[in-house]
Amino acid sequence: MTAIETLNALKLTGVDKSFGSLSVIKGVELSVRKGHRHAVIGPNGAGKSTLFNLISGMFPLTAGEIELNGQRISGLAPHKINRAGLSRSFQITNIFHKMSVFENLRIGVLAKHGSRFDLLRPISRMRSINEETGRILDLVGLSVRSGHLAGDLSYSEQRALEIGMTLSTGAEVILLDEPTAGMSREETAQAVELIRKVTEGKTLLMVEHDMSVVFSLCDRVSVLVYGSILATDTPAEISKNSAVQQAYLGEDAA
């Protein structure tokens, strides 16, 4: 653990990523303040998901550095990054389809409490683990579905579970990849409230397409275009920024 206290939960410095000769992320500088809800927006193919994959350790960086609470995490394996306190969700629902909703969440709670390789105690006796899982279940509103197979849930329920699983490992920095993609207007509104509730006191970085979600939820917005950050500001300022309008909002309208 580092002794340096920083204001930034997450800091990206000069991050590059290329696949072969194709350069996808170019010199990204990004700081996410502790306790902020921060959105990354940008046109399709701008590299938003790639950026998330870099931060969470799915791909190695080509150049640059990523710090979590002042501690370098770039180059670490995904599970180490998670243990360092950063947890991510997936754009395409990525759950344990053949396990119960409760168990989906409990896997994360067990990881949080370091019971990863526990071979000596029956899980049913681990009361505090099961209670904590129950609390997360309540939080994401899936208590009534506790015993159902995750694969049998409706789409929006699976999205809620996805968020619950991201939270379950107890990370303080949460990355959500398009949490409202494919949802109806009502479902989106519910999801926004859910995200607001569960990220209270935590740091959130999210990829989002829906501008109304960004405006109602986020303190900061970064615009990613062609692999570079065009601007970072408050939602209100970003919507006034002419360069952003030209590069992104204008293009969207056309």
Partner: protein, 423 residues
């Protein structure tokens, strides 16, 4: 099925397996012993294949290593090392564990087909190398030893060995079952379901899979050791692809998705092998046929299919199902009879005895005896019988299926809600 009835069934099975064997012939006692060893091997294999979703084609390696380790310990006991005979399988466990850590670390670096190929290569490595290693594996002839008496038990009869095997089987089965109830046991299932997500939830997938592999190899080693204690000998043939294949066969026919599925497969196959090996040369053919049919029509194994029926026991309208099920059973039996008739006929007509008989009567094909009846290969009736059995059986199955489809539709229409709630 409720927990109580499960315990009742297991308790009953245990009672029978303790009380019955003394009244059986030595042949049966031996068969039961083999059955228990095969069951334990299949259970430990299934921890890896069924629960973690890692299909190994080289589990003979850990079975074999366990057997040789036990034999070396037996040799040491002969020389005066004070280890009680009932504890010999511990050597197998230790050897399986060590081999499992090393192989597991490397093989779980890969997944899917590549994992299967690594395990296959490791087993083939053992199989091709061991006949040349005189010291550890006794070269081509292998090594032999003797069971030493302990505390007045002489371990001279197969019955005594059987009880030893039974004891170890029960201990190992309980441990393997308890494993599924631990946090790590749940993680094992999660790894099968979605390894990527497990990684992003803070687990080191590679270390986890190595650990699972190791546990599986350790119990396989116990099974191998029990075999060595039984036979008092082992050679490099234990590492052959045949041994690895058998356990795959037992597990998937029995049902890899159920905890006791592999036991079901192992018991069924060893009992059939014991009963059939005297009656037919074609036992392995039937075994392959059963395996392929199960893969095609009951992808979760026979145990899986039965469990599904049991789960729906109360919801199913049995009055409506009696007719199609009875028809399907008759149809299936007819097809089986037809296939067996044809297979045995081919086996006779193309066999050496028949070839010899033909040389005596060069002008015509002599009659042959099958199932106590005399048949002529040129008589129409000989071939009409299997044809009728096969065609009739298929027709009955079709009829039964049509009835079932109808009743399914009817049920789906009447109570969609209950069936949804049961999942």
């Amino acid at each position: 099925m409720s927990a109580t009835s499960k315990f009742l069934i297991i308790g009953l099975a245990l009672l029978v397996s303790i009380a019955l064997p003394p009244f059986l012939s030595a042949g049966w006692q031996n068969a039961l012993n083999t059955m228990l060893i095969a069951s334990l091997f299949a259970l430990s294999f299934n921890l890896l294949a069924g629960q973690a979703g890692l299909l190994s084609f080289g589990h003979a390696a850990y079975f074999g290593v366990g057997a040789f380790a036990a034999l070396h310990l037996m040799l040491a006991v002969e020389d005066g090392l004070p280890v009680p005979t009932p504890l010999l399988p511990l050597a197998g466990a230790l050897a399986g564990l060590v081999a499992g850590v090393v192989s597991g670390w490397f093989s779980t670096m890969r997944s899917g087909v590549y994992f299967a190929l690594v395990t296959l290569a490791i087993a083939e490595l053992f199989h091709s190398l061991t006949p040349h290693l005189q010291g550890l594996f006794g070269g081509e002839s292998g090594i032999s030893s003797m069971r030493m008496p302990w505390m007045g038990i002489r371990f001279a009869t197969i019955l005594e060995v059987y009880y030893l095997t039974l004891g170890w089987f029960v201990i190992c089965a309980v441990l393997l079952w308890a494993y599924t109830r631990t946090p790590f046991g749940r993680l094992t299932l999660a790894l099968r379901d979605n390894e990527q997500r497990v990684r992003f939830m803070g687990y080191d997938a590679h270390v986890s899979k190595t650990l699972i592999f190791t546990v599986s190899a350790m119990f396989s080693g116990v099974a191998g050791a029990l075999q060595a204690v039984t036979n008092e000998t082992a050679n490099y043939d234990l590492f052959s692809a045949g041994v690895s294949s058998q356990v795959v066969l037992f597990t998937y026919v029995g049902g890899a998705t159920l905890f006791f599925g592999p036991v079901f497969g192992a018991v069924a196959f060893t009992v059939f092998a014991f009963l059939m090996s005297d009656l037919t040369r074609s036992w392995l053919f039937y075994q392959g046929l059963i395996f392929v049919l199960v893969m095609l029509y009951a992808p979760h194994g026979i145990g899986g299919a039965l469990a599904m029926q049991l789960r729906q026991w109360r919801e199913l309208d049995w009055r409506r199902l009696v007719k199609p099920y009875a028809t399907a059973t008759v149809g299936g039996l007819m097809i089986a009879a037809g296939v067996v008739f044809l297979t045995e006929t081919v086996s006779i007509l193309f066999g050496l005895d028949y070839e010899h008989a033909r040389t005596l009567t060069p002008d015509y094909l002599p009659d042959f005896t099958l199932m106590g009846q005399v048949w002529s290969p040129v008589a129409v009736s000989t071939w009409v019988l299997p044809a009728v059995l096969l065609i009739g059986g298929i027709a009955l199955l079709q009829v039964a299926r049509r009835w079932l489809d109808h009743s399914d539709d009817a049920m789906a229409a009447s109570d969609t809600e209950t069936s949804k709630g049961s999942v």
